[in-house]
């Protein structure tokens, strides 16, 4: 299919996500795709957008938005951020034994400085 055609993405063989390009774009649906749609008998949700989308509209439901054990925020900026949320997150990471293997050497030194050690 060329770039202006219907864009269909399968997820877990259970659901479909479809996006349609602007009305002025020509829509072509190939026959084998129509057959697949009839077999699955699933409801399609069509979203019309004004701009061309290059990524799937829907993400799998079980994909976490942010990992809970993400330690990427442990950087020198925490030494100048004193909001309660940041302080609490740093303390949770620093007091979680499992974090020890996930933190880089530099991050451990930043935590040490955060604690005044």
């Amino acid at each position: 299919m060329d770039d202006d055609s219907l864009n269909i993405s399968y997820f877990n063989n259970q659901s479909l996500a479809v996006s349609i390009f602007p009305e002025e774009s020509q829509i072509t649906i190939e026959s084998h795709l129509i057959e697949n749609l009839q077999k699955t008998q699933q409801e399609l949700t069509i979203l019309a957008t004004k701009s061309v989308q290059t990524e799937p509209v829907f993400a799998p439901a079980n994909t976490p938005i942010e990992k809970k054990d993400d330690t990427s925020f442990i950087n020198p900026s925490i030494l100048t951020q004193y909001d309660a949320t940041t302080v609490q997150k740093v303390q949770e990471i620093a007091n979680n034994p499992a974090s020890s293997t996930k933190l880089s050497n530099e991050q451990k030194q930043i935590i040490a400085q955060f604690y005044g050690i």
């Binding site: 100048t80 050497n105 935590i111 040490a112 005044g116 050690i117």
Partner: protein
Amino acid sequence: MKLIIVLLSALASTTTIAKELPFYFGADGQYCKMCFKQNYGDNLYNKKSLGLNPFFGINIKDSPFAVEVGYQYCDSSRTSTLTANEYASGVQVPQTLEPITFRSSLKLKGPHVSLLLLAPRYDAYPLQFFGGIGISHTKATFERATMQFNSFVGKTNRKMEASRSLRRLTLGANYFFTKEFAIRATLVLVNTEKLHAFASDGIQSHFIPEVRPQNSVYYGVGLRWGF
């Protein structure tokens, strides 16, 4: 009662009050004991330290009082290793950094002045007791070097300082070998509880280390020359 009066009369007849020389000077070697409040230095700093107290005194003419000035100095150091949930200068050690090894040292120094009340001293009995109250301006410096944390070599050296005027209570005794020379023992109480020290090193951190000492006792033995 009559017997006591007779004995005191006999004692007075055989002893004469020794005349104090106008000035004296000397130095005390001291054993200083200063405890710390829980979690604020008790597991880092040495409670016991050695000190020195050079002094100079003026016996006020025709009175039992003397004014004594001096300079107090004592220091000590200690190495300690802390694990998670213990406190380092008021800050709880996090699990990802344990164990942490610190080398901690303290210094107390500053001048003092006291007004002393001298008990009468007799030629036949060379022991003289004295006591007094005074004030000392003490500067406390608590340093804490991080030697190692987790598996890293530490390179941080935190410094906590405090400077205050403190009450000073002195009790002591002189033992005179000659008219000029004596040894003396002293017991000095200082309310170092007021020396609440915070980090003064300018190192940026979220948690600020602090040290909270308790009151101190200095046990001293010294030499004293009068002139």
